[in-house]
Symmetry: C2
Subunit: 288 residues, 2 copies
Amino acid sequence: MNNQNIKLAKFAGFCYGVKRAVETVKKLKLENPDKNVYILGELIHNTDVINELESLGIKTIYEVPERGEGICVIRSHGEAPEVFEKIKNAGFEIVDLTCPDVKKVQQRAIELAKEDYFVVIVGKSNHPEVMAIKANADLYSSNVAVATTIQELEPYEEKIKAHNKVGVVVQTTQMVSTLNTLVSYLNTISKEVLVHNTICKSTAMRQREAKELANESDLMIVVGSKKSANTTHLAEILKNCTKTIHIENDEELNLESFQNAENIGITAGASTPESIINNVINKIKGGK
Amino acid sequence: MNNQNIKLAKFAGFCYGVKRAVETVKKLKLENPDKNVYILGELIHNTDVINELESLGIKTIYEVPERGEGICVIRSHGEAPEVFEKIKNAGFEIVDLTCPDVKKVQQRAIELAKEDYFVVIVGKSNHPEVMAIKANADLYSSNVAVATTIQELEPYEEKIKAHNKVGVVVQTTQMVSTLNTLVSYLNTISKEVLVHNTICKSTAMRQREAKELANESDLMIVVGSKKSANTTHLAEILKNCTKTIHIENDEELNLESFQNAENIGITAGASTPESIINNVINKIKGGK
């Protein structure tokens, strides 16, 4: 397969917020070898990274215990204020690694709630980042809705119409097309719609660049967890441009299925480590 | 043609702002028989109405003379502040019949300009209502753009990106789909987009009802001037629903062209007098 050109997207893999979280957690354990270091929830959607952290003595926990000691890390997705309280009350020291971009979304949602906007959060209601944003806004208003489709907003239509104004924030890795669909609907039922496009720069640039690469490729390979929202969005967007496959790692790669592809583009989600991307590239180059 | 059902839309013809303007001007002349009564620009896009006003002694003028006396009426579209000044300085008494809905758009645009938003006015740059809105906003900001297409906004892209926030107002008879196209574009280049959907209720209801009627009709007839923005928008929207013809009056009606239509829906723009709509209905019923 010597005729294949492989091009890796510039913005593939770890984003700033994830890189910062992984590096800080490792440093934290190094500087505090005698302290327990816990992370609440998976730091990133990648088993290899979770295992590596585990081997360094950094434990992933999925619930806050009644009592405990040591450091408890808040991952880049952020957490609800009541979770912070619970961790503090249990006796842990908190290290907050909420991505600064995510913090901004929380702040915007709080501002909108305080200013009496009907708050719409664009995102999946079961996404941890969305749950934390909502929990923050809920403290200031009972008019907060979460949606990625018009159908999810329709039950609020009468309430939104009765309200004077709607404010919109967006989960940082959402697609701008989802935002636009919801805003177009809101424009038909509300006289004032304030949109904070809080999709993070990293996501926007990753999507834009990947689309450009897709337009000059016969095949796009998106590498990353199928649990990761930003990775699945990436694959969804690229499917509209060219043939696209979404794999978690090189093991899922079936070389025979794209023998005829001349120009192959590769990109990866924000939680995909470099090593996994490299394995995929090597497997294609090696043709094995 | 006895098998044809003809249904007239409820919201066909004069809107509140136009009705108010026509009635007030007539009353004004009645109450001031000895005073000159001028209207600056055509009160509505309809020759019959203009002629009727003329016969009552109400003159339509297209420019403000250097000097003059009597009453000068501002039509429902509104005017630039400098035109108000010019009329006053020429010696006229001003009667301002700017539609209250249009006044609200002007006020919103001024507020956005004062609050340092980059102001986008959705509308045709040569529409009198848009020109007056823009002139009001221009007094407070040099960052005001007018557009109905993304292409018209593109020259401002760098300026909008550099600006922190964009505020949007809409000419009262625009289509919400045009607003949504521009807002979707603005969401990709600006972090904060504040949308005041100032499309007037009358336009929104007229469009919504006409669409419903179109969905149950084989043919829609839109009656009104081809110079009228709201009438042409109406025809444009209905063309996506069913076969639609846009005529100015019954003389343009070619009965042979729709002999096979069973259900005919009729609607009319905001500047179409009832008499013209009735003439159209009578011609179809008479089958002549």
